[in-house]
Structure formats: C-alpha cells, structure tokens
Symmetry: C2
Subunit: 323 residues, 2 copies
Amino acid sequence: MAVYTDVDDDQLAAFLAGYDIGGLAGYRGIAEGVENSNFLLDTDRGRYILTLYEKRVKKADLPFFLGLMQHLAAKGLACPTPIARRDGSLMGELCGRPAAIVSFLQGVWPRRVALSHCAPVGEALASLHIAGDGFALRRANALGPAGWRPLYDACAARADEVEKGLAAELASELAFVEAKWPKGLPEGVIHADLFPDNVFFLGDAFSGMIDFYFACNDFLAYDLAICLNAWCFEPDGQLNATKARRLVAGYAKKRALSPAELDALPVFARGSALRFLLTRLYDWLNHPPGAFVKPKDPLEYARKLRFHRGAASLAAYGIERTP
Amino acid sequence: MAVYTDVDDDQLAAFLAGYDIGGLAGYRGIAEGVENSNFLLDTDRGRYILTLYEKRVKKADLPFFLGLMQHLAAKGLACPTPIARRDGSLMGELCGRPAAIVSFLQGVWPRRVALSHCAPVGEALASLHIAGDGFALRRANALGPAGWRPLYDACAARADEVEKGLAAELASELAFVEAKWPKGLPEGVIHADLFPDNVFFLGDAFSGMIDFYFACNDFLAYDLAICLNAWCFEPDGQLNATKARRLVAGYAKKRALSPAELDALPVFARGSALRFLLTRLYDWLNHPPGAFVKPKDPLEYARKLRFHRGAASLAAYGIERTP
C-alpha cells in the first residue's frame, strides 16, 4: 500500500511535455510498492508506469538503476524500459522528486508460489545475470555482509522484544556468516530482491521482472540463494526440496553453476535469510505507529535461518552436486 | 487511498471464468476510493475496473447502482458499463465480497477546478438527469433532509470539539432547511456526489463520470446545488460567481431549469452544504485512530454554509432568473 505523493494533473501534463510519448489520457496511483509512489499512466499513444522516487531511494543511485534497466531491456530481458526524455535523460523532476517513466509490463505476480513457477524464475534469474554482463556502472551491495553488523547493532538491544533469545541467535549467526562467507566466486549484476511480487507470469510462463531498486554487484549465486528463500519455502516454514531442485535446475539450464557455486549455496542461503531477518527486524522495531505500510514478519526469516543452520549439505535442499 | 481486500490471482482467474472477456493478463490495486476495493484489470481482450464492495455499501443497493450504470450507458452517457456475466447477472462474489467488473474510462479528474471545467460539468449533470428518465428501480436518498437530524443527533454533543459554537449553528441550520425545504419540484435519478474526483476530462472536454454509489431519486436541482458547492468555491472559501454562472448555464443548455427550480437553488445549496458538513463531521469524530483514510475537513463545508446563509438571492451566485 503506497502512493506517498499525489500528483497534480496540470503538473503531470507539463512533465509529459518533456517526453515524446503523447498527451495525458489518464493516471491512477497504484496501491503497491513501499519505497516509491507509482502510477499507471496512459497517454494517447500507450501505457506506462510513472515512478516518483521518495526519500528511501538515494538519488545518486538512480543512474545505476535506470541505466541497468535500459541495458537489460536492450539485451532482451523482459523488464521495464526507461523512456528517454526529449533531452535524452532517463529522469526528470515532478512534485519536487526525481521521477521516471518506464514501459508497462503485462502479467500477474503469483500470490501463492506453485511448483510450476520455480523453473521459470530460475531461468529468468540466470537470464538477468547473463544480460547484466557488460553494464558499465557499478553499485556495491549496501545490504551485503558488510552491512549486516551495523543493522545488528541497531537492533540487538530490542531484538528479544520480538522473540526471546533472538539477539543471541543473531550474534552467533552473524559471526558464522562473516567467518564462512565465500570468496572468489563469479560476480556480476544481481537483482537482490527477486521475491514473487517482483515477477510476472502470464499463465505459467514468465512474462517479466520489475523493481531493480536493490540491484547491485555481488556474487551471482547469492542472488539464487535469495530466490531459494523467497520461492521455495512453504507457509508452514518447511523447505520444499522439489521447488528448490526446480529453481536451481531452471537456473542451470541458462547459466552453468560451478561446483564451488553449488557448494556455496547453503551459506549464501543462511546469509540471505539473516539479511532479510535483520532488515525486517529493523523495520519492525522502527516503523512509526499508524504508518500505512504494515511491516513484514521478521520471524518468517528466523524460521528459514533455522532450517539452513540445520541443513548438513546440499542434499538437504534436494540439490545434487553432479553437473 | 484504499484497497482493503487483496485479491489472490488464482481466485481472480476463477472469477473471470464466469465472464466472456478473455483471460487474466494483469491487475493492480488502485490507491483511490474510500468505500470499496478497486483494481485496474487487464485481460487479453481489454481493460476493465474490478470493484469489490466493502461493508459500507449495502448489498441490497447494488442492483440499483449497477442497473443504473447499465441504463445510463445504454442511453449514451459516458459512464462505466457493468459487464454481464455468462449467466446474465451483473455481479458475482470474490474473496467473500460482492464484486463487479465495469468498463474502463479514459480521462483525468481535475485536481484544481478551472473555469473551463464548469460548463461541461453542468452539461454532463443535465445529461445524466435526462438519461436517468425511465430507469425502473428507485432508491430513496438516505442522506437527504430526513437523514440529517439523526446525523446531527450523533454529532451534536461533540461538534464544539471541532469548532466552538458549531453545535448551535448546526441546530439552527437544520431547523431552517427542514422548514424551508422545497416541495413539488422535478424529481429523477441524481448522482448526489459529483465532486471533481468523479468527473474525467481529456484536455478541456468532459470524458466521463464515475462512482454512482450515492445515486438515488431526489430533486434534480438539488444535484446541481451539490455541484455548485463542489465545483464553484475557491480555496479561500469564496464562491466564484463566474464558475457558478457557467455551471448553471451549462446545465440549462441541456435541460431547462424552471423559475421555481432556480429559486430553490440557494436553499438546496444550503442543505447540500449542511449534508456534507454533517457527514464529514461524523467521520471526523468517529474515524478510528491510525486509519488509512484521512477524514476530510468538515469546516470547509461550514464556510460554504455560511456563504449561503449570507446570500440574499440568486444574484449573490451570479445567476440570473430570466430564462
């Protein structure tokens, strides 16, 4: 539930004059997304998405995000394409905020993940990793391992308000992943937030991915581990090994995973679970009372973390190491 | 800001199977409307609006509202047309709520009312009144004069929390309009809530009206007085007589106003201001803390009411009584 900024129709018509996409024929605020204000925008020539970047997205990062989408779309990935203004820039200003217009993607994100979704998501993630090759800009992962200790420090004193013993568990997990974090694996552009609400399907076929506002440079296999957490657990908190196998096989169909990358998946999954646990915990402890956006349950990721801690090897994920 | 019910994609696909409008290609919750949950819905054949009726709309009233839209659209009014299901009904059930699909209208509602909007709105209102003729169902105006005293009784004890002296002012106004309410004027279907956010334009041209969920049978000129309050006051609280003249002239171009109807406009405007003051005051005093929807300022309508009380005649509105 979002739309933080209401856009005046006169201001929007003036903003549109900076583009060569026709005149204003309609716009509606979309009740989704928590970082930005998003509108479905119609002109007399087509349909677009208008985004106003609110303060949680750093303006200095926008050239990376918008340039990346442009690069990926040019390489054939089904993702929103930023529309260039008449002056060639991908971004303007509307209501005092940086604003961009991107192409509209058809499709529906799955509210319940079915087994049939997992291979296409793996394939799409590998396609993104391949398409990202050659993109000139770089962005460090602000929410990678180096960012977790500051988050932990900000939450530790109050973590036990959410669950008794959570602070000690977090300290121990953080020490583990800091010590065991892999080195020297293939890196590239990762999505870093490829949850179901960012992946569209038409029927059972992948139709597009959106929301590149956490994208950055990091280990490619770490991105797969994020998807493992986001797509392969059941509501009862158990890993569905069939889903995991399909996800990884779908990925490997497009981009081969080295034995070292496969071996790294369990620790990447453990780190990824810790990352979402920490950010959700931070939001849970710090959201203003009465805020529009209901914070997500941090304990969902505590349960996933505990699964990973108990998993002895890749076999626990249903994944075989043989090529 | 709305969308109270999140709709599962599988449930929606099953609901769509009851219609002959193609397969699901996308849907997004719209962040507007305060009574219902609204979604922009795409199928592989076209675009629609999906509405789930939340508890503020009585299910027994839906045949009136949906039948009215169907009747008006068939008469050529630019308004949403309910799409019939395969079984012929205009309404189904989704997520445990009554739900309907209507046609999509292009256009933009004006965030700031310009003089150029007023004549087209008057014309559109008259077109609605003419098109409503012959609609078989009837619905009493629950928020007409008979409904104001119960609202007053529910608010009176706390009205002075909003402004000192407001309770006494409301009592006096209520007695006035009850005594002076006109009788025997032309009646028909009225929109009863034709505020700027319910009227779409493409450029300066009227392109459609929406939100018939207050529609009912009442005096036609009372509907014009509602528009006078909603469209012809400036942000400083003063009536813009030029806007009022344009609104009434636009209306009269399509449907002649009798001298008796013109004479009734000041008391209708006074009653209409009292109606919105009372409902806003009720919502202001009774909205739950932390609710998504910020209640509208009741005092905006107290100021309009005071203008009407001070207006000696039609001339104060810039309106001439000559035909």
